[in-house]
Amino acid sequence: MSDGPRVRVLGAGVAGLAAAFEFARADCRVELIERREAAGLGCSHLAGGMLAPWCEAESSEQIIVDLGVESIEFWTHVVPVAERRGTLVLAAARDRPELARYARRTLERESLDGAAIAALEPDLSGRFEQALFYPREAHLDPRAAMAALLSRLKGFANVALRFGVEASPASDDADWTIDCRGLDSRDRLQDLRGVKGEMLILATPEVNLSRPVWLLHPRQPVYIVPRGGGRFMVGATMIENDEPGRITARAMLELLGAAYTVHPAFAEAEIVETGCGVRPAFPDNLPRLRREGRVIHVNGLFRHGFLIAPALARRAARMALDGAHFPEVTDADPRQRQSA
């Protein structure tokens, strides 16, 4: 049995599991506490699972790209659940200016014509004449990824998992508490807010896609992520409120309309699931490792959970165990956040 530092991780979403994994790898005695009955039942359950850091540059800062690139390594080598097949970005003919704007603001991309699109995704043959392709990007199935990470954690003798237990960072019998409770930490993190997201899962044997597809639209870009077995996750709305569980007809109209635009056969697909969650975000939509004494909050992952959780977890572990500083994800000087 390890006699390393005692570390209590609160919350078993992707941030909590990734943090528990990093501390476990560093020989700490880890106790993971989750108030729900199982892991990954919050935002992680509803995530798209796109590992698309270069696409994210369209509306995010460089730090998200850097953390994302680092995390792709984690999901392809350490807990290898991701497939690296790139991301395809499309727009309907009348929304072409959106594609030009997207191209201007992103790197590591190729411009494709209709034939090249068809070569990548034969089912889209003849449907789109222009696209952007981000060959280095990857995707994963979030639920499979959570299961894989959890089974790795169970393999550590120095990790204890407790589900169905209310946890608060108040108790101090641990050397470190890593608070990864997302929006539940709002009592401690006053500047945290919720950003609602709605998604759905479609099933159809008539469409084959082998990589995530974004459909750009001036009002609401929508992505479709293949989950295998004829299932497709379609997401996600971004609404400035913190209302969990209430899915609007408008959201479904927009998501289904986009899926139908990408391929009309989605009209006959079965809706196997709809979901709605609330993402935790800070005012700049960037994540924080915020230290309060022996507590480190890992929060504000916004819509970037799987994309950045491993890189944040690694930093949290080094911050606690080595006294390392990571100005790019702490509050000290926002200007330094640009350079990771």
Binding site: R101, R104, G194, E240, N241, R246, T248, F282, P283, D284
Partner: protein, 265 residues
């Protein structure tokens, strides 16, 4: 307050740029951009963010925290009833009689339904609201909105979010000439600061814009650019710009000078 103040329903403003609050990369960038724009009025949509139980409170608190006057809007409303209900909720949430009234008639162009607009404006003004109607450049509709009690008009430059600028300068000029005393604000369709400057040079009282700033690569830089353009355009309008003419009019006399018009070697 400067001499050249803009007065909207009795409120004097020194900035002639009204800012939108949607589609920014983050609330922090939104706040920085609104500050850089110098705007004293920010419009905020409620229809979608409100949810079932006013779940948008965090975001609204953020808007209130900008320290500008809030102009709630009915964006996304398609019927008179929706718009009126949204306006009433906005009044409760933000404690203001101001409402930017949008009744959308067509999904592709987000063109106003001017019949519904006039009806909703009339209901709301009777209920004590101070209505800022988002309308087209149509003169007759403008007359009816004024008849319904509106004291400000907000004709579009081009469809919302299209960034095309002033699509119909002739009609916009006619509207300006027809209502010299009514505050007219170009709302929607502006893409570049030059569009805003052109509207101001034409004598429009202010511009309201969102997408052109929010979706720029650097929203804060673009907010400042629009602020300068609005100021330049307004100053130009007040300074009586010269009229264009067909022939050159040299600024120094050429009469009697040898070889005028011969290219130098």
């Amino acid at each position: 307050m400067t001499k050249d103040a803009l007065t909207l329903y009795g409120v004097a403003l020194s900035s002639r740029l009204l800012a939108g609050t949607a589609q920014y990369p983050s609330p922090a960038i939104l706040a920085d951009a609104v500050r850089a724009s110098g705007s004293e009025v920010a419009t905020v949509s409620l229809r979608r963010e409100s949810g079932a139980a006013r779940a948008g409170e965090t975001f609204w608190a953020l808007i209130r925290g900008l320290g500008v006057k809030v102009l709630p809007n009915t964006a996304g409303c398609r019927t008179v009833k929706e718009a009126v209900t949204t306006a009433q909720m906005a009044r409760e949430i933000f404690g203001t009689p101001w409402i930017k009234l949008e009744v959308i008639g067509e999904d592709d162009t987000l063109q106003p339904d001017v019949f519904g607009l006039v009806e909703a404006a009339s209901i709301l003004t009777r209920d004590g609201f101070q209505v800022f109607p988002y309308t087209t450049e149509d003169l007759v509709v403008a007359e009816k909105l004024l008849g319904a009690g509106c004291e400000v008009l907000m004709p579009w430059g081009a469809p919302i979010g299209s960034g095309r600028g002033l699509n119909n300068p002739y009609a916009l000029r006619a509207l300006r000439a027809h209502f010299p005393e009514i505050p007219l604000i170009i709302d929607a369709g502006l893409g570049a600061p030059s569009h805003a400057a052109a509207a101001m040079e034409m004598g429009y009282d202010a511009v309201l814009l969102n997408t052109a700033i929010a979706r720029a690569g650097d929203p804060v830089g673009m907010a400042r650019a629009f602020s300068l353009a609005v100021e330049a355009g307004r100053l130009a309008f007040l300074s009586d710009p010269m009229q264009p003419r067909d022939m050159a009019a040299p600024s120094t006399p050429v009469m009697g000078r040898a070889f005028t018009g011969v290219a130098r070697a």
